[in-house]
């Protein structure tokens, strides 16, 4: 090789400059999607809590894993004795319902909804308003509301752009320490650069971690190829890697399942923690298999050990062994991303870090336009487009998220098809606001949309008070911390947008334009 690019081009055209250029374009093109991914992903740290808020009819009822598994199996044996498989997700301190999922032998096209929430005590289906709950933001975070598999590929591509932007951003940046302490308010482009640097530098370990581990969550989709070189049958890799026993086939001989309670107690003893998930293969058949998984307390890894039993006799079959280091590493990365191991304080810390991620992407997008705007000159088409997309994403998308939560309270609880209507409310609000803003000059559009977002978020606790009995005051009196925290968070977000609206309404500061002071070659 004839020297590196650095030697070729000299210090002035070295990595720092090319990476500044790459950083600017990677950030711009992926930035709009990344901003929505950051916001929805951040909300997903509270996925079960959002679901609980969105089904206010359901009140928490404590039930032990044994009790919940028992009642769920009683229900499932009644409705689906010939199913291929049942998945039972047992309630824990964050969820109040037993979630069951059936894989019927003959899928019934009329009965599309195979997933169901059960009362953990009685085992009867919970009757609550139909909603996708926290699942909606969580799914959007990596599927972007696009058909499978395109949403996941696009999200993966954006995550790669993010990884590239982080690496190139760090290379570009020479004064990483000084920028901890540098924030010059109200200086136009300079302030956006400072804000971008502060949010990026403070959150750097989190941003790098969350981006890389995010790619790992879908690694079997993005990078399954090495498996093909080492295993003639790719399924064999998963089997040996995770120690899952090979699938059994049904014998055709009917035999009822053994009582689940002793098995759960046995599994909890063997695995050393409460059972979280029960998977039953061929229930009601002599060859039935019961797998019981446990969440490791105090362990980051989201890989859960599993004990397997013979369903007809209750005989212990096997327990998943200690996996290979690479598999453990993947489990820890997955756990770090999902943060299911985190207690309430750490989960709030994750939430705040997620918001700094959104702030970093948002300020980066604003910086791109601030840098190209010349005082007195008409903006070129690309600049106008970027600015309008910035408004559509940074101001209008959060309003859409608020609309989803508002719709949950405003659409009558018994209405047919209301879950889909809630989702429609989110996207219609987002789309309409993104179009309406085109009728206003850019600066006014910022103010107007921030104002609308503020009103929507602040309206959520009000709508909650008007339509349910679980508004702020009763929740405070009941000590219902979840509902109190939810209302107050919405209010806080609303106030945040109100401040943004006020700030954006102020007359423009005297921008130094392309400043004479030598700007570090940061960001194209």
């Amino acid at each position: 090789m004839n020297g590196t690019g650095m030697n070729d081009t000299g210090a002035q055209r070295g990595w720092r400059q090319t990476m500044a250029w790459a950083h600017g374009w990677l950030g711009l093109i992926a930035g709009w999607i990344l901003f929505t991914m950051f916001l929805t992903g951040t909300s997903a740290y509270f996925r079960p809590e959002i679901t609980r808020w969105m089904q206010p009819e359901i009140h928490a009822q404590a039930a032990s894993p044994t009790q919940a598994a028992n009642s769920a199996i009683r229900y499932l044996s009644r409705v689906g004795p010939d199913d291929l498989q049942w998945y039972i997700y047992l309630p824990d301190e964050r969820t109040v319902a037993t979630r069951v999922f059936r894989a019927p032998a003959k899928p019934d096209p009329r009965h599309r909804k195979a997933e169901l929430d059960l009362d953990p005590v009685s085992g009867t289906p919970l009757t609550a308003r139909e909603t996708r709950g926290g699942e909606q933001f969580y799914r959007f975070h990596f599927q972007l509301q696009l058909p499978h598999p395109w949403g996941r590929w696009l999200a993966g591509l954006c995550a790669m752009a993010m990884l590239g932007a982080i690496i190139s951003g760090v290379i570009t940046h020479k004064r990483i320490f000084a920028d901890f302490f540098t924030l010059r308010w109200n200086k136009g482009q300079r302030s956006w650069l400072d804000a971008h640097n502060v949010s990026a530098v403070l959150g750097l370990p989190y941003h790098a971690m969350i981006t890389y581990t995010g790619l790992i969550t879908l690694i079997t989709m993005y990078m399954p190829w090495p498996v093909l070189m080492n295993y003639a049958k790719p399924a064999q890799f998963m089997q040996t890697a995770y120690g899952t026993p090979a699938d059994v086939s049904a014998s055709g001989v009917r035999q009822p399942l053994v009582a689940i309670a002793p098995l759960i107690r046995d599994a909890e003893r063997r695995l050393g923690g409460p059972a979280t998930r029960v998977i039953i293969q061929h229930p009601g058949d002599a060859a039935a298999r019961i797998a019981i998984a446990q969440a490791k307390r105090g362990a980051i890894s989201s890989r859960t050990p599993v004990a397997t039993y013979d369903g007809a006799t209750g005989r212990f079959v096997s327990r998943s062994g200690d996996p290979a280091v690479a598999i453990n590493t993947a489990g820890v990365m997955l756990g770090l991303h999902l943060a299911t191991f985190a207690g309430i304080a750490l989960r709030w810390a994750y939430f705040v870090m997620g918001l700094t991620g959104a702030a970093m992407v948002g300020t980066g997008l604003l910086l791109w336009t601030a840098k190209r705007r010349k005082p007195g000159a008409a903006p070129f088409f690309g600049l106008k487009l970027a600015e309008r997309l910035n408004i559509a994403v940074i101001a209008a998308f959060p309003a859409g998220m608020a609309a989803y939560l508002l719709a949950n309270r405003l659409i009558p609880a018994a209405m047919e098809g209301r879950a889909d209507m809630e989702v429609s409310a989110m996207f219609w609000t987002w789309g309409l606001l993104a179009l309406v803003q085109l009728g206003l000059p850019a600066r006014r559009a910022w103010t107007a949309l921030f104002g609308i977002a503020a009103a929507f978020w602040a309206a959520i606790p009000v709508a909650n008070a008007l339509t349910t009995s679980r508004w702020l005051v009763p929740s405070l009196l009941d000590g219902d911390r979840l509902f109190v925290a939810f209302d107050l968070s919405c209010l806080a977000i609303g106030i945040g947008f109100a401040v943004a609206a006020r700030v954006s309404a102020r007359p423009a500061p005297k921008t130094p334009g392309r400043s004479r002071r030598s700007m570090e070659p940061a960001h194209a």
Binding site: D8, L163, M223, M229, N230
Partner: protein, 123 residues
């Protein structure tokens, strides 16, 4: 090819380095645009192909005397592949000479693919 003087892509270089559009006649701008598109296609698609081939090749040639070593040999290239992808992609945006980028990335992927074909699945 590798040793060729770099004046051929100098216009691309100006563009890469400063992000400015090229001035000059429409024809030059056109060629600059195609060169830029090819650079990004090579970085994104070529970089992915290169990474896939490299991950498959390292999975195949890492020693795997037993079942658990085989899992490690398969798992680590998967886990680390995204770093390689980011690295090779950024290099494609950094290096001025498009010919060299194309040679390394597309050529490298092809050579590794041939090796993979010759090696076959591990017995």
């Amino acid at each position: 090819m590798l040793l060729k003087p770099r004046h051929r892509d100098d216009k691309g270089k100006a563009q890469v380095a400063s992000g400015q559009t090229i001035d000059g006649q429409a024809g030059r701008r056109w060629r600059g645009g195609i060169a830029m598109a090819w650079r990004w296609i090579t970085a994104i698609l070529g970089g992915y192909g290169f990474t896939v081939a490299a991950a498959m090749l390292s999975a195949r040639i890492l020693p795997a005397p037993d079942a658990s070593a085989r899992i490690e040999a398969t798992g680590w290239p998967m886990l680390l592949s995204f770093l390689l992808y980011a690295g090779i992609g950024l290099w494609a945006l950094h290096e001025v000479r498009l010919g060299r980028i194309s040679m390394v990335i597309w050529g490298g992927a092809l050579v590794m693919a041939i090796l993979l074909k010759l090696l076959g699945v591990r017995a």
